[in-house]
Amino acid sequence: MKFTEEHEWLRVEGDIVVVGITEHASTQLGDIVFVELPEEGDTVSKDDEVVVIESVKAASDILAPLDGEIVEINEALTDEPSKVNEDPMGDAWFFKIKPSDLSQMDEYMDEAGYNALIG
């Protein structure tokens, strides 16, 4: 698993990458009440705003970590945004992306690096 400085986690499954936010991020955001996902089939570029999360406090964006195509979204989050607080590292993944260049993964941190970042 790899981690971005934006507190996303990326898990490679074959030629697909699953994307979610970290436990640390979900705790910092507070109670999540709204999730807006991209559409399956969307072509996205790295750093595009692809997901909107709203907590009781504020709205935040999740950026596409890679160039590629959104191949699946986790629609359950639309109906139950609180899943992101309950299981951010597991069931509450946001989307699966088919990267056009998997080597973009190389710039991201491993778990030890991420843990050092969040202290």
Binding site: G30, D31, V33, F34, E36, E54, V56, A59, T78, P81
Partner: protein, 375 residues
């Protein structure tokens, strides 16, 4: 601690209880505790929440007698102060010459004086305003030696009744002076959540003792400013600087109910407060905009600043959200804001623009949750 911020007498207690502190109106205040905004909100609605509101201004107005002091205060606010009963409290606001609102407040007839409680962000200006217009006939004394707590929620009465049986007998907006944990407290049966509850002014020296005594009850938890905001929004109550300000008039803010007959056209003491011409005219004839409840029909919260449109394609906004977010008890987004008078009818569908997309929102009655006051 952030540089230059003031602390309330409960600062150390907040830290001890794991509060996340944020700057608010010049004070370092708890925005939430470990439970988080959602749980704190729901706890208040089901049991009892304790709120540190010591940042608010407590001001005593004292003249030769109540009547003189009341008549003086009536020169600054459009409320009937004179006929307010002893040991009763009322909601009010200072107005300016344009009919706008300088601050909203609570005032109580405490026999030989009036106790006024004003917003933290406005208190210095309010005190200067009072001194300028009331002194020397009336003494204006800002109390820096008293803390202020609010206990709110259905369990509040049972908790307070353990300290004195008279707490249970108080009705909404009654005030009394009674001991809690040995300290002389000035208590009103009121609050800012839509729940039954009390606001308690405590000598600073006893503040922490009283707070710890109340927190010792199983049903009582400290609640931060985050949940305070979502509670008052669901209760349809205005937040000064957001839902009301110098550009909003009482009528546009849907606050005509706070202006008693005695001060209106054909009343016993008509006018005589700043902006009376504008305000009394609007009470009769209406204002061009009105404050309304707004319920987004989708799940996306509409926050302060979201523009409201009459339909999905119109170019000119017909209104704006002034407070909005997620209502934990409503289990849906809720908001309030101003729309043009012709669209202010409950049930009207309008559109709020969020991140460039228009989402339907229904003009809704306030409050969003029924009030639980003990009338």
């Amino acid at each position: 601690m952030s540089e230059g911020l003031k602390q309330t007498p409960f600062y150390d207690l907040h830290l001890e209880l794991g509060a996340k502190m944020v700057p608010f109106a010049g004070y370092d205040m708890p925005v939430q505790y470990a439970a988080g905004v959602m749980k704190e909100h729901l706890h208040t609605r089901s049991k009892a929440g304790l709120f540190d509101v010591s940042h608010m201004g407590q001001v005593i107005l004292r003249g030769p007698d109540y009547e003189t002091t009341a008549r003086a205060l009536e020169r600054l606010i459009p409320m009937n102060v004179l006929d307010l009963g002893v040991d009763r409290q009322r909601y009010g606001f200072f107005t300016n010459d344009q009919g706008g609102i300088l601050d909203d407040l609570m005032f109580a007839n405490r026999g030989d004086h009036i106790l006024v409680v004003v917003n933290a962000a406005c208190k210095d200006a309010d005190i200067a305003h009072l001194r300028k217009h009331l002194e020397p006939a009336i003494t204006v004394k800002s109390l820096d030696n008293r803390a202020l707590l609010a206990i709110q929620g259905p369990a509040a009465e049972a908790v307070m009744a353990e300290y004195h049986p008279r707490f249970a007998d108080m009705r909404f907006m009654d005030v009394d002076t009674l001991p809690i944990a040995g300290a002389e407290c000035w208590v009103s049966r009121s609050g800012y959540t839509g729940e039954d509850g009390y606001e308690i002014s405590i000598p600073v020296a006893a503040a922490e003792t009283v707070a710890r005594a109340l927190l010792a009850h199983d049903d009582v938890e400290f609640i931060g400013l985050g949940a305070r905001d979502s509670l008052r929004l669901e209760a349809g109550l205005c937040l000064y600087g957001h839902d009301i300000d110098t550009d909003t008039t009482p009528t546009s803010a849907s606050l005509n109910w706070a202006i008693q007959k005695a001060r209106r056209t054909e009343g016993a003491r008509v006018g005589g407060f700043p902006g009376a011409d504008v305000i009394l005219n609007q009470i009769e004839n209406g204002a061009p905009h009105g404050r309304v409840g707004l319920r987004p029909t989708g799940r996306a919260p509409m926050r302060e600043g979201v523009e409201i449109f009459a339909n999905e394609t119109s170019t000119d906004a017909v209104g704006k959200v002034t407070s909005g977010g997620f209502g934990p008890s409503v289990e849906a987004p809720v908001a309030m804001g101003y729309v043009t008078a012709d669209l202010a009818t409950v049930g009207t569908t309008l559109y709020g623009e969020v991140r460039g997309k228009r989402h339907p929102v229904e003009v809704s009655a306030l409050p969003f949750v029924p009030a639980n006051f003990k009338r």
